[in-house]
Symmetry: D2
Subunit: 284 residues, 4 copies
Amino acid sequence: MGSPTATLLISCPDQQGLVAKIANFIYANGGNITHADQHRDEAAGLFLTRIEWQLAGFNLPRDLIGPAFNAIAQPLGASWQLRFSDAIPRLAIWVSRQNHCLLDLLWRHQAGEFLGEIPLIMSNHPDLAAIAEQFGIDYYHLPITKANKSEQEAKQLMLLQKHNIDLVVLAKYMQILSADFVQQFPHVINIHHSFLPAFVGANPYHRAYERGVKIIGATAHYVTTDLDAGPIIEQDVVRISHRDEVSDLIRKGKDLERMVLARAVRLHLQNRILVYGNRTVVFA
Amino acid sequence: MGSPTATLLISCPDQQGLVAKIANFIYANGGNITHADQHRDEAAGLFLTRIEWQLAGFNLPRDLIGPAFNAIAQPLGASWQLRFSDAIPRLAIWVSRQNHCLLDLLWRHQAGEFLGEIPLIMSNHPDLAAIAEQFGIDYYHLPITKANKSEQEAKQLMLLQKHNIDLVVLAKYMQILSADFVQQFPHVINIHHSFLPAFVGANPYHRAYERGVKIIGATAHYVTTDLDAGPIIEQDVVRISHRDEVSDLIRKGKDLERMVLARAVRLHLQNRILVYGNRTVVFA
Amino acid sequence: MGSPTATLLISCPDQQGLVAKIANFIYANGGNITHADQHRDEAAGLFLTRIEWQLAGFNLPRDLIGPAFNAIAQPLGASWQLRFSDAIPRLAIWVSRQNHCLLDLLWRHQAGEFLGEIPLIMSNHPDLAAIAEQFGIDYYHLPITKANKSEQEAKQLMLLQKHNIDLVVLAKYMQILSADFVQQFPHVINIHHSFLPAFVGANPYHRAYERGVKIIGATAHYVTTDLDAGPIIEQDVVRISHRDEVSDLIRKGKDLERMVLARAVRLHLQNRILVYGNRTVVFA
Amino acid sequence: MGSPTATLLISCPDQQGLVAKIANFIYANGGNITHADQHRDEAAGLFLTRIEWQLAGFNLPRDLIGPAFNAIAQPLGASWQLRFSDAIPRLAIWVSRQNHCLLDLLWRHQAGEFLGEIPLIMSNHPDLAAIAEQFGIDYYHLPITKANKSEQEAKQLMLLQKHNIDLVVLAKYMQILSADFVQQFPHVINIHHSFLPAFVGANPYHRAYERGVKIIGATAHYVTTDLDAGPIIEQDVVRISHRDEVSDLIRKGKDLERMVLARAVRLHLQNRILVYGNRTVVFA
């Protein structure tokens, strides 16, 4: 955990001297770089980088780092995000009836596996209220019907705003978010219970069984307006055999889902993910 | 390899006493069972089994085993296949331009990893003729166009018949077999360079790259009249990252393809695969 | 879960007719076999099998099945165990300070992933008493020192007896059981935080880091009098890189440990494991 | 492969400004950085980096890059290696009787998977001479006995020198190199047929079978004077079951061995491996 750091995630049209210019900016201001990694997407003509440095001894006060870096970034045509490691992100976890991903995230949070506050659990069902209570977290039950969806989404957005939420984690939330919602609140990670793009949509385990696959998977991705088609963060798989019934696929899949979702959330919270186009660079 | 064995692959409506009846048939005739495995598909109401026994000391001559077993199988409504481990299966390998799967199969064959004869390599391109020559195998170059396809398939079928081929292995044969062909010669294993059912059809690696997946796969399956939709025998995957260009996916995929295809061919040749519906039971 | 079944796990010097004799015993008494799998260890000259059948419609009352089967088994020189699927096994979970394996087992138990009762959690530390309380399970805190070890083990044995415990699960219990204890209570599964036989003994993650391995593992095994050398039930691994500090190995290892231990316990409770020599056959 | 690049692998006591100083050196001389990755080993107080840039447009002639960079490196106490992507490394492959790793390397070489020349195959057995001939490579048969070992090693060193060999690949060479040899020629990669540090030494597959492990592995490492204890480059594993005899472990292991060795050789040839202490940083 150590002393606080700043992290820049930068995406920029490729050109000479980028590494030097960015490194100089930090060095000239007395920063000690602890992590630097870059990627060039030649086809896209893009330079993508993550750079992290210690704030102890850095000459610029925090609120001036952004403006100062912008003076360098603008002429380069770069887009960038600046994050501080001690800024505690605020998460809302959304669930339906299944508890495995929720419990897993709460355990990991308690075990210190990721930094963040979880002031809010939201659900379209009342089932998991007791877990929220046990962990001392507010639980909002907002049932969704075709008729009330836009009204409920308005409430959801209001709650996110009220609680200053930075990231929504869909931990087996079995409702589709409207395009409107996603445009207004684009920071959403979902876990899909298949190896995308196989089995987009409903009932992937049943369809995997029907198709007779020998391996099943799970996929964590950012939510976009296009169902199950957002930028993939992390995937993993497990081998199955003819002995596995649909119920075994579901059981084995639950382990995959909680692992994959937890890894994705952790990578996001450590500012290790850069999205461009419909792809992610994961600086792991 | 030991002494020769007989193997029965049986699929049968589920009912009491099946194991006992089959085991008794073998025991009563002096057979020593070396492998017995069964699976029940409850939804389908099917009993599926593989049973293998030593022919040494078995009282029935080989040509009477089938008829004798049929007397038991018919009242049970069972369908079955009988194979002898020392019956050398004859394979035709079909290729286009890529050599990795072909070379891998020929190496494994030379190394004794599977029993069989390979009298025949067929291709729609002349490129790999030198490999065939090096291994002393006949190479038939049959270019395929829209216009000549049915004519060429007729030649292909004639060659399969002439060479007494039991199994066709499509080792990166980049042509689609017609429904007609598949109906006339249904014993065909294909390797598809994706984790089916993701990326059915052409250019799976390019499409995997576009989609930004974190894992790629390969799938060996029996060929049916429905493209890339036949019963899956084996699949495997490998992790990729943003650093992997399409060319890296292709390179990593080649390793997957040859492993997965080789495992599928070996399982088939050991009579370990039972197909029912669009699924396989792999008695590994 | 369906109707209750009986399961026989049999190990026997290899000889002709074994499958037939066993299958006939079940069929003759009206049993419907739902699972039958066998393995021959040629080097050891052993036949090892698992056979499961429905009790509904079986003519023998439960208490006569054992004696009746023994009449067949004895002349064959077979050793066997008989289990009923509705006999609820009783587990004691032993822990030290780490909670991840304990919580994972309790969650899976709650989720119905395995049948069993858990009347007892035992620890050499007081730390996890609150978890026991939350799940309504008795927690016994028995600190172990060199001086009091044999005395405490006597108490532990007494508690196991008193609670009718069938299986002890060492869920990160960081004490070595004495040979005496293991001889008196041999049904113990342990999770070791390495890919055995690599890093036997203490601090495997530190030593894995020191050695610079690229993959770490976890191993579930039965406990014998020889430290970390008992029959292996299940292992799994995860890839690491130079970016992973010891703390990352520990974090990633925790996920491995809980998966691998849970799979081992489930296999044991489903009577799918046959131990012979220092090896296991897992009829999965 | 694109235009030629230069690569610096640098290891250096950690201090402020390292990234900036290195990046500036390249930028000031007109270089375009295509890959930059760094790692800090906090415990060791080391900064480890790989930086690659295009030589097209770089102002310094090749023979001056080293001296010029040294002027920066020396005050920092850095040790470094400079490589050019179009400098063709020269490999010697050493084998005994097994051909799978040799054939695999030669195929990959032919397929363009790695750059390099292979002027030399050396063996303590005559068996694989025909493969060398087929690929047009010199084959030296130097049988090793206790009595002649140092004499033969002298010949081997002479041959390496004569052929200007940069890297020796032990592709199942079943002899131990003397400490003397390793000190004189330290650029040797070996494939060990186990998941090190499990099963150091002879007959790992037999010992893995004896131990009853559920997963086997292979390890590629640099050779040091300490048997099977050199810095690990790459490892991989495959799952096995009780059905796998020792011969199956060997067969499955062969696939592991050739994959793992090929990956290690490719990483080495792309100058992606930095060794420090007994560890490697793999900038993949």
